[in-house]
Amino acid sequence: MKEFNFNIEIAKKGKEIVSIEKYRFTESKITFLFGESGIGKTLANKAIFGLLDESLLDVKINGLNYSAFKKHEVCRDFRNNGFFVFQEPSSHLNPLIKISEQMNEGDIGGSRNDKEVLEQLWRKQFDSFYKNVIDIYPKPYRPSGGEKQRVLAAMAFKKLRVLKNYDSRNLYVFDEPTGNLDNYFRNVFIDNLIEQYIKHRFTSVFITHDYSIVAYIQKRYSKLLSDIEYKELYRAGEKSKLRKFDSAEFLKYDFKKLARNSKGSGQLKLAVKSGIKVFERELIFSKNEDTNYRASLKVNSGEITYLKAPSGEGKTTILKIIMGLVKADEFAIRFEDKIVDQTTLPKFWSEVIWGKVAGIVFQHADEALNLNSKVKEVFQALPLEEELTDLDIISKLNEIFDEEITEEFINKKTGQLSGGQKQKINLLRTFMLDTDIILLDEPTSGMDFNSIKKFLVMLQKKLKENKAILLVSHNEDIFDPLVDEENRYYLKTTD
């Protein structure tokens, strides 16, 4: 089978931002491309698709300057017969045109099978969601991130249906197509993709951070494994390189060993009463996925409590209510011996909780860090008993980073780091506070598998130190094995 092979160099104002040697994928196969965020997965794929702006970036592909490459047969084929599903659905949809109309623009208008495609992605009757989700303007009606992502996926699937001559040179790039979807809809999307793939045998690159996809593919599509490749972009000095991702290593990795090694004292550190009233809805906790039997959310020392829910259900809101950042109309929380509710004054959190009893790792490191601060300033700002020296910071960072941390690195602005690097700094900042309660919102987002493993070791250390951890993550394949059944909760909304 033929391979596409590219050497990609992208620079901005003379400064190299992405350099990938031997970026390869095979025709007529689905390539799952992993790697920490910010390493260049999106840029590399946009570059080969001819989507980058030459006036802003200097791009060279296989030694050709970008305007010559864009005229090259390979790039023209990609653009004319392929499809690129962008990572950020909001930027893909025009807010001034109804979604239903956007689904029929250009050559995808030739396929009038919206109903069928959408029903497959929603797993619901067309009429039950069409009016509220599809026959609307993206603004001000604001479909959720997951809904927008399914709309884009539907467009890609429509494009597949209108093609008359299927060719292995038709490239379909899906850039984080399941980033806003919970596991159920992620799997629905993958099922649809593979169904189309079996029919048309196109070439596809599926960019993702979600390593647990490997487990799903292995379980459900074991007969198709020869048509699927797993690759990973990794940092090698200043360049990024592509390597085969060892799916077997992921599948064999014993996540349970963390749970076995980390039984703590089990003393109750945090409890949240079920039935929180916020934003005109009521949020409840249940220990059962299928029923609404209410249970108080309990977080014990030396244990992880895992809170699960579909996207948009309010998991982050719950964490923010616990930390006093969102004021709920009705709630009751117990921090060790202190009880708080809607009548508690905000200064309670600043005086008693923040950085002393509890700390939180926010989901998006990009937003949680001051991007104009140097790496070392992020840690030096912390109210610790002893001031941190550069050496202290370097030694802490070495615990989670693959590459050797240097003086130069800690003097960089956080805005210059990759997404994965930012996330590690985001995590370390809260871990260094040494609070008894730690809330983690999607802690592994943007990380590669090596970093995830290092993070799990750090988590284990925290559990040994008897810290109580409340975790929110859609990465069930990683976290389910290391959290006891009794510590898993489901967040639900009642009308």
């Binding site: 950042l325 600043s350 949680a368 700002a381 109210p383």
Partner: protein
């Protein structure tokens, strides 16, 4: 030798293209060059007393302008913090009193407010409560800054509001980092420095414009107690004086006698100098401010 020459030429080209791309730096260069050229010309053609008067006025105006931006920055910063903490406290009475105080300054047109301030200053100067050019300029700057600091206050408020909605603000709070540090260091210093500098450049322009306007209004005589002789020389003040007015009128003469033009630059220099200094300074500040805005991507 030739290679070295090529290197120098290429470096010079790079330098020129960089300066040309960064319009603020280009206009700082133009301004400095323009001023040097003016000094050279004036030293050749302008008589010594007029030369001294013009440049004292220029230095005084710029000095007062710089004092204004310092005071406005301090007042604006204090007012933005006071507003943030007052609102955060949620005390209705305190908020009402604060709003009344701020709106009082906002509702008075700048020019009227400064004019009233100047009347008081003139009284204090004539009663020799404020003596010496430095203190007179100092109090002039204080008066003007009371009516321009709102611009800084509103900018800082916008910055706090923007960042307080972001996770970065909340994440730092949850780490136990003091709110005052987050606002002053992380938001103002780390994330708003360029915005503040750009605003201060604009305020310098506004101040010079306001000074000139007020001096003109005062020159037509508001009260018998307020006269230009009470105040130190500034650009507007000197422009409003008789010699300068006659020089400006000479420019009108060009319509009937275009051949009079060369004489303007040798015999009517005081008024033209002042007019040039005002317009050239204002134009340069406008261009520097806009160029800075673009260079920093604000």
């Amino acid at each position: 030798m030739q290679t070295n020459m090529k290197k120098y030429i290429s470096r010079a080209k790079d330098f020129i293209s960089r300066v040309y791309d960064n319009k603020d730096i280009l206009w700082i260069g133009i301004y400095i060059s323009g001023m040097l050229l003016l000094i050279l010309w004036d030293s050749l053609f302008l008589n010594a007393p007029a030369f001294s008067k013009v440049f004292t006025a220029y230095i005084n105006s710029i000095f007062a302008g710089i004092l204004v931006i310092v005071f406005a920055a301090v007042l604006g910063w204090g007012a933005a913090l006071a507003e943030y903490y007052t609102r955060k406290k949620g005390n209705k009475y305190l908020i009402t009193i604060w709003d009344l105080f701020v709106n009082m300054f906002k509702s008075v047109p700048q020019i009227i407010g400064i004019l009233v301030g100047y009347i008081f200053l003139a009284i204090l100067i004539s009663h020799e409560v404020i003596t010496g050019s430095f203190f007179q300029l100092f109090w002039m700057a204080v008066t003007i800054s009371f009516f321009v600091f709102i611009e800084i206050k509103e900018l800082l408020e916008e910055r706090i509001e923007y960042y307080s909605r972001s996770d970065f603000f909340n994440a730092m709070l949850c780490c136990g980092i003091k709110e005052s540090r987050i606002i002053n260091y992380e938001i103002f210093w780390k994330n708003s420095r360029d915005h503040i500098i750009q605003k201060l450049i604009s305020i310098l322009g506004i101040t010079i414009f306001l000074q000139c306007s007020i001096d003109f209004i005062v020159s037509v005589g508001l009260t018998s107690g307020v006269s230009l002789t009470n105040f130190p020389n500034t650009l507007g003040n000197v422009l409003a004086k008789l010699d300068s007015k006659q020089d400006i009128l000479a420019m009108g003469n060009l319509f009937s006698d275009p051949l009079y033009l060369p004489k303007l630059f040798t015999t009517h220099l005081q008024g033209i100098n002042i007019a040039f200094l005002i317009t050239f300074t204002l134009l340069s500040l406008y261009k520097i401010s806009n160029g800075y805005l673009r260079r920093k991507g604000l």
